[in-house]
């Protein structure tokens, strides 16, 4: 670029002010330099005002929801985290705000794998993970199969779609109470049929010890798959028919159509379904509490039952909160890992 500034207009235009003003003669430029700067500051203000006018109402509208969430979710959660660092027990509970701070002592008591509570906590976490791995997988597979079947046209399809939701809409307390009866050793249907079929000679005790978690799993799968079916059915309906039609013209087999069209197209729905299932799973409580009682025993204990017992039976709120905080942390980490892994997998596919 020549230093005298007598450049060709076309080139100079690229070097003009930040706002990309058209190239101007020197005289023009001198005349407009001052207003241009003023326009810039006014521009920021203007932008801010425009932002307020355009998005301000949006903030105003979500304000009630946000304050309600703060009030009923985040403030109590913060309180719960604070409690985890205080020595709140039987003797201090009625004046809990005066209870002494104890640092991480509650976490040590609740999480030390060598101690009684810590041992139970990690075992409970393992139990609920195992429980989730089996029930979520089974629920997904059954739900998918049923969703595929119900995606075909047949008379009475709407009725069947309603009927399969029955287990899901039955209240937990009712459904799991019935399952408890079904699994009872002396009068339960499971043992009755197993004995009639000659598979067992004497009644198996299902609801005590290491069998118990399998009994609960079966009941939970029975109760949980309709939800997967419902969500997947909704997902199936969004897949354009043309995709299948063109695949069929290309000679794709039934399996290929499922593998290369249905599954990938259901990926977003599946992702959400599995995510909420994992989150719900770590909070699993009703099925264990109703079928096995307050203390399901070490082999079937889950974090919720353990925390409830240790917190509310003996007023050891500090330790209970510490365990709850860690459980929440585990769920957050799991969610993050899961979402990242999915994103990575998607990028890999693309």
């Amino acid at each position: 670029m020549p230093p005298d500034g007598s450049a060709r207009p076309g080139v100079a235009s690229k070097r003009t002010g930040p706002l990309g003003a058209p190239p101007a003669t020197t005289a023009q430029a001198q005349g407009t330099a001052q207003p241009q700067a003023a326009f810039q500051t006014r521009g920021a203000l203007y932008k801010f005002r425009r932002f307020l006018i355009r998005t301000g109402p949006a903030y105003l509208f979500i304000l009630p929801a946000v304050s309600a969430m703060l009030l009923v979710h985040y403030i109590p959660m913060a309180g719960g985290i604070l409690v985890a660092f205080k020595d709140i027990n039987l003797f201090t509970v009625s004046r809990w705000y005066d209870a002494p701070w104890v640092g991480f002592a509650n976490f040590v008591q609740g999480l030390d794998p060598g101690g009684f509570l810590g041992g139970r906590f990690w075992r409970a976490l393992w139990n609920v993970s195992f429980f989730g791995a089996v029930t979520i997988t089974a629920g997904y597979v059954i739900g998918m199969a049923v969703a595929l079947l119900l995606n075909r046209e047949f008379p009475g399809r709407t009725l069947v779609r309603g009927i399969i939701l029955l287990p899901y809409i039955t209240p937990d307390s009712v459904a799991y109470s019935v399952w408890r009866f079904i699994f009872q050793a002396r009068i339960g249907l499971v043992n009755m049929w197993l004995m009639k079929l000659g598979i067992i000679d004497e009644p198996v005790i299902w609801l005590v010890g290491s069998n118990a978690i399998y009994a609960v799993m079966l009941a939970a799968i029975w109760k949980g798959w309709p939800f997967a079916a419902l969500v997947l059915q909704a997902g199936l309906q969004t897949i354009p028919r043309e995709l299948y039609e063109s695949a069929m013209i290309d000679g794709a087999s039934r399996w290929q159509r499922f593998r290369y069209i249905t599954l990938p197209m259901l990926a977003p729905v599946t992702r959400i379904l599995i995510l909420v299932s994992i989150l719900w799973n770590y909070n699993a409580f009703n099925q264990f509490y109703v079928m096995l009682g307050k203390d399901p025993g070490p082999a079937a204990d889950v974090p919720s039952t353990l925390i409830l017992r240790e917190t509310f039976n003996t007023f050891n709120f500090g330790v209970g909160s510490a365990m709850s905080v860690v459980l929440m942390g585990v769920m957050l980490v799991l969610t993050m890992v899961y979402l990242r892994a999915l994103r990575a997998a998607e990028r890999g596919q693309a």
Binding site: N89, L90, F91, V93, S94, R95, W96, F116, Q184, A185, R186, P203, I205, W206, L207, V208, G209, S210, L292, G293, K294, D295, G297, P298, A299, R309, F312, N313, T314, F315
Partner: protein
């Protein structure tokens, strides 16, 4: 459509305003809230309470709002009230709960002289209201468990009610020969929260105790404790109780006896009400709990009436307790409704308790023991019950010996109990 919903909104607002107005009007007289457990079937319990509440209102002008709360929810409801200082003025508490509630500092201290003095109550129940020498509740009713037996099954097997724990096994074996495995005795298993009450009486009869006299150390893992625990497991091992017992809670065990399927059960006086409703034709008798090497022992339980410390209506609450403890009210409540025994001696001396099975419970109560009144009792009970459950679980899974036998489990429980006792202040 739109105007209809607007009218609904107007009507709802109007109703709300009226309700608020009514609430304000009622607050002018004293009103107290009373939480009571389902001590009798609702069909007879609720009319009784309604009538007494009305009677009390006419007498004192104090309005009592009562709420019947199941035992399983009562603990958390009461805990919440203790922490928040709201929700209730007077509540019923199990005798073993009372010291723990007292330790929280959230229940009102009681001047027992306002309720007839310490001598007016059964000793074990009175002790259960104490914490560090002060009173935090008023005994309401007492109960103790005894051995119920099915007279028809006993006659068919040609046996007499057992007087000792040894005899119970002999009698049980004869019964199972006639009626089959598991037909001799109904016991509760892993699902029973009151498992410890049934074991404690065996432990005491064998000469053991749960904790030492100063409440410093656990003592139930000594030789007597092991013997008493082996005895409980033996009831299943020898086929006197069904293996399925392991999953039972106490009501399931009771039902097995009440239905007439099992010949013996350790039950309380409240079960008499169940029998009258469920199976009135059951031909049963009640005898004292059998004796062990150290003699007979019984568990003293029952319920107390407790006042919330933060209640602004202390005087009205005390008035209501005095009303419930009045001779005719207490006798009527225990005799006609709950089938418990009055914890007040003048009511207990009512001639009714000299008759029939009541003599048995009377004798049982004369030597019945209460647990020591400790703030950390809940931790202690949980520790023992948790390992008790593990023992029964290990037994039905066939791994009890592999895991070191009952001694290993009891040692583990004892260690936790020692830790809990160290926390008692």
């Amino acid at each position: 459509m739109r105007s209809a919903s607007r009218w609904a909104a107007v009507a709802a607002t109007a109703a709300l305003v009226l309700a608020l107005g009514a609430g304000a009007a009622m607050a002018q007289g004293t009103e107290i809230t009373f939480w009571v457990m389902p001590n009798a079937a609702d069909v007879i319990h609720v009319p009784w309470l309604d009538q007494k509440v009305e009677e009390f209102y006419r007498e004192t002008g104090i309005r009592v709002r009562y709420e019947v709360i199941g035992w399983d929810q009562a603990w958390s409801r009461i805990s919440t009230a203790l922490i928040t200082g709201e929700g209730v003025d007077v509540f019923q508490a199990g005798t073993t709960w009372n010291p723990q509630f007292a330790a929280t500092g959230a229940v009102a201290e009681i001047d027992i002289d306002k309720f007839g003095g310490a001598d007016a109550f059964m000793e074990a129940n009175l002790i259960s209201t104490t914490y560090k020498g002060k009173h935090y509740g008023v005994p309401w009713f007492a109960e103790t468990r005894a051995l119920f037996y099915n007279k028809d099954m006993f006659a068919a097997a040609g046996v007499e009610p057992p007087q000792t724990y040894e005899e119970l096994v002999q009698v049980g074996k004869r019964i199972t020969e006639v009626f089959g495995e598991g037909s001799a005795v109904a016991i509760a298993g892993t699902n029973a929260w009151d498992l410890i009450h049934n074991w404690a009486i065996i432990l005491w009869a064998y000469g053991g105790d749960l904790v030492d006299a100063q409440a410093r150390r656990a003592t139930f893992n000594g030789p007597e404790g092991v013997q008493a625990m082996e005895y409980y497991v033996d009831l299943v091992r020898l086929g006197l109780a069904s293996k399925a017992t392991a999953e039972y809670n106490q009501p399931q065990a009771d039902a097995a006896f009440i239905n007439g399927n099992v010949a013996m059960a350790f039950m309380g006086p409240w079960n008499i009400a169940d029998i009258e409703v469920e199976n009135p034709s059951l031909n049963y008798g009640v005898v004292e709990p059998p004796a062990g090497p150290a003699g007979r022992a019984a568990f003293s339980g029952g319920s107390n009436l407790v006042i919330l410390g933060a209640s602004p209506n202390q005087a009205a609450a005390e008035e209501w307790i005095r009303f419930l403890l009045r001779h005719e009210n207490l006798v009527s409540y225990t005799r006609d409704l709950s089938k418990m025994l009055p914890a007040k001696i003048d009511a207990f001396n009512d001639p009714y308790y000299e008759t029939g099975v009541w003599q048995v419970f009377r004798r049982g109560l004369s030597y019945a023991t209460a647990y020591p009144p400790l703030g950390v009792w809940g931790d202690i009970e949980n520790a023992i019950v948790a390992e008790f459950r593990n023992i029964l679980t290990a037994y039905v899974e066939g791994s009890l010996e592999r895991q070191g036998g009952v001694k290993a489990f009891l040692n583990r429980a004892a260690q936790r109990v020692d830790e809990a006792l160290a926390r008692e202040r």
